[in-house]
């Protein structure tokens, strides 16, 4: 099997897990750098999906290594100012990868996606099922590129072709070692929120997220699945459990201030993300439990507490290791 984005948080941990499991004979790592967990099973290829010749190279590698399963994790875990690069990387990069897969005999394609792509709307049901349309703001490249990539994968997995395409939409990933815009947002002393709103949030523990990919690699289950932890928490409780102070701002103020801070590269996320501070975006993980056989070990609350424990140590400089 091959893993793209192997040096990302999910990639590193998935390779680490598969190195120790007997279900996979060999692993090919495709990324710009080598994952630190690569051991004797893993062959590292340095490859950039943004490269115009990436398709050619991937096809060559896939053929040479006789790869049947690909896990596509090459997505940005946090919004970036380099939106043009992000577009090339996520949307076009996925296209390159999938075209390369079309050329060779790939039997399984597993892709990472996020429940955030459903979008936060007041009209959302409390639990979004996989059938729900992806309604995240198209104006925000972080979402639109990922939605395009997912559509590309869905076209690749159209029924009738003898291919298994599994898309795992993870809830926001939280845990002691992961680092993304969410952990940085909750790491602030004063956490901005939207005045008068307290949406329900949901998390998945990093170990559960990685485990979900392992299950998807080991079992042949086509389809799209929400990977979530059990239970929901109101945002105010989330902030209190991490021991932070909420800073409620009216939405209009938050938009202006947040937009300015984002341009100044101080804020973690552009104003489009304030939707998630205002409205609900919680997914239903029932299908993954029933069909994929994924059982989360941690509830949303436990994932948050694990994160908070590590974050407190980082706050007082007792934990110096930088999160992945």
């Amino acid at each position: 099997m091959a893993v793209t984005g192997a040096a990302s948080f999910l990639g590193v941990n998935l390779i680490g897990m598969l190195e120790e499991s007997d279900s996979v004979r060999s692993i090919v790592s495709l990324d710009v750098t080598a994952p630190r967990t690569a051991a004797k099973k893993t062959r590292v290829y340095e490859l950039d999906l943004v490269d115009p010749t990436a398709e050619e190279r991937v096809a060559e590698i896939l053929a040479a290594e006789a790869i049947d399963t690909i896990v596509h994790l090459a997505f940005l875990p946090s919004p970036t100012h380099a939106s043009a690069y992000a577009h090339e990387f996520e949307s076009v990069g996925t296209m390159h990868l999938i075209n390369a897969c079309r050329r060779t005999r790939i039997s399984k394609f597993v892709m990472w996606s996020q429940t955030m792509l459903y979008g936060a709307h007041p009209t959302n049901p409390n639990f979004l099922s996989e059938k729900h349309a992806l309604r995240a703001r198209r104006g925000e490249p972080y979402f639109s590129d990922k939605i395009e990539a997912e559509n590309e994968a869905l076209r690749f997995g159209k029924p009738g072709q003898a291919r298994i395409v599994t898309i795992l939409r993870t809830a926001p990933i939280l845990g002691p070692t992961v680092d993304n815009y969410l952990t940085r947002y909750l790491g602030r002393r004063f956490v901005p929120t939207v005045l008068g709103f307290d949406p329900l949030w949901q998390f998945v523990h990093e170990a559960d997220a990685v485990n979900a990919f392992k299950i998807a690699v080991e079992r042949d289950v086509p389809g799209t699945f929400n990977i979530t932890g059990d239970g929901v928490l109101p945002l105010s409780t989330v902030i209190r459990l991490v021991g932070r102070t909420p800073l409620p701002l009216p939405r209009s103020v938050a938009d202006t201030l947040g937009g300015t801070l984002w341009l100044a590269q101080v804020a973690e996320a552009p104003p489009a993300f304030f939707d998630y501070l205002q409205y609900i975006c919680v997914a239903d993980g029932e299908l993954a439990r029933k069909v994929l056989g994924f059982r989360p070990l941690y509830t949303s609350r436990e994932a948050l507490i694990e994160y908070a424990g590590a974050q407190h140590l980082r706050d007082v400089k007792l934990l110096s290791e930088t999160p992945a």
Partner: protein
């Protein structure tokens, strides 16, 4: 000696945790044993040490109890006496200062647990040294064996007053602010956002409204089944929709098994700041088929107001005349989920905030369905929205069972329309008979 030195070097990492960033500097291998006794609060230690040398037995639980042991740690190390047998006993006690213990409670714990070994040291030097050795060993082991130390942590949580030192720690405040911020809220809520603690606080208000303010009278509550899924279909009224909350209170107070009701609330409430959050915490759920199906699948009792916004925005002259029942979504729901319907008529709620006129053009700018004009509302400001103390009468009708139709009937629009009309007219009849029986708006 070398072995111990090595361990010492490693120790600052776990040991340092509870003590804040105080000793961040890495001690060298040589300095490590020397710095050992100096760690923490040196002045106190010395005081305690002197006491021990003078031979007086300090009372158990005295401050600085840890001191003599630590003060003579160095000599213990240098002498390198034989292995201590007591080591294993001391491990749990000494392992306390490790990772899992929150910063504010460490000090207390140390104080509480230290006296026994020290009192046993008496005057015998060899005995003393041996105990110290054991202690040191235990400390090292404790520092390493986190899993062993972990179970001890919960015990320390019950410490009542934090020591003065902990109060200077900013982490302490952060932690406790976090707790006080949640004092009115439960830490765990249900899937739909009902907050039991918060609801308990608002219960007093809703029970006051139900019992004393509206002096509600409930009839036919026995028609609501004692268990299993069920849909209550009610008329919607009042400029401020209090009927959902009152219905919930009625079922809790009056129903023989005090059933918990969740009601489905209009979309627009969830666009509004504060309102949506409040309703969500006290038991309202956004009205949509997915939510209703999920609730019914959990065998709960769900109240729907099929009139929706049209029910609450009807003018005073249209009172108690049921508006259109939407597209009959609740009938489809009942058919698909095989849930019985209980019609319910609420009389009295229409007069709480009689709506004389509604502004709709301006309201859309504010994201509201309308701006109400009542005899009191813009006139008295927000106070004008206080409901009038009318007397309420909540009547539940005979349950309507749709089991004779299969779940596939939900796709038959004609049938759904016909069933919806039937339910609607039965509620209308109940309303009218309720109005006929009513003598006065205020006294029922």
């Amino acid at each position: 000696m070398k072995r111990q030195g090595e361990k010492k070097k490693r120790k600052p990492v776990p040991r340092a945790k509870p003590e804040g960033s105080r000793d961040n500097g890495k001690p060298t291998a040589k300095a490590a044993p020397k710095s050992r006794p100096a760690r923490g609060k040196p002045p106190k230690r010395r005081r305690g040490g002197r006491k021990a040398h003078s031979g007086t037995k300090p009372p158990p639980g005295a401050r600085g109890g840890l001191a003599p042991a630590e003060a003579e740690l160095r000599s213990g190390l240098e002498l390198e006496m034989g292995e201590a047998e007591v080591a294993s006993e001391e491990v749990p006690e000494l392992g306390l200062g490790t990772r899992m213990v929150p910063p504010n409670v460490i000090f207390n714990e140390g104080v509480d647990s230290s006296p026994p070994p020290r009192s046993s040291t008496g005057g015998d030097v060899a005995e003393q040294i041996r105990a110290l050795e054991a202690r040191l060993d235990g400390m090292m082991r404790g520092a390493r064996d986190l899993p062993q130390a972990a179970p001890e942590a919960p015990k320390t949580e019950s410490v009542a007053a934090p020591p003065a030192e902990a109060l200077s720690d900013s982490a302490y405040f952060e932690q406790h602010w976090g707790r006080t911020g949640l004092r009115n809220r439960s830490e765990e809520i249900d899937d739909f956002g009902l907050d039991p603690e918060y609801e308990k606080k608002t219960r007093r208000l809703s029970e006051f409204l139900y019992k004393s303010y509206f002096r509600s009278k409930t009839e036919g509550i026995g028609n609501v089944p004692a268990d299993g899924r069920c849909i209550i279909v009610a008329n919607h009224s009042g400029t401020l929709p209090l009927d959902g909350m009152m219905l919930r209170t009625a079922l809790r107070l009056e129903h023989p098994v005090s059933r918990e009701l969740r009601w489905l609330a209009e979309d627009f409430l969830f666009y509004l700041p504060f309102a949506g959050v409040f309703l969500n915490r006290v038991g309202a759920v956004r009205a949509c088929p997915e939510n209703a199906e999920r609730l019914l699948a959990k065998e709960s009792l769900v109240a729907v107001f099929p009139e929706g916004v049209h029910g609450i925005k009807k003018l005073y002259r249209e009172r108690y005349r049921l508006q259109r029942f939407g597209r009959g979504g609740y009938i489809r729901l009942a058919l698909r989920m095989r849930a019985p319907l209980v019609p319910c008529a609420i009389v009295g709620a229409e007069e709480t905030n009689p709506l004389l006129y509604r502004f709709e053009s301006l309201a859309s700018v504010l994201g509201l369905p309308y701006i109400p004009i009542t005899p009191t509302f813009p006139l008295l400001g927000p106070l004008g929205l206080v409901p009038a103390p009318t007397r309420w009468r909540i009547r539940f009708g005979e349950p309507i069972n749709l089991d004779s139709y299969g779940p596939e009937a939900a796709d038959d629009s004609l049938l759904v329309g016909r069933l919806s009309d039937r339910v609607r007219s039965s509620i209308q009849q109940m309303l009218e008979s309720g109005l006929r029986e009513r003598r006065s708006v205020w006294f029922g």
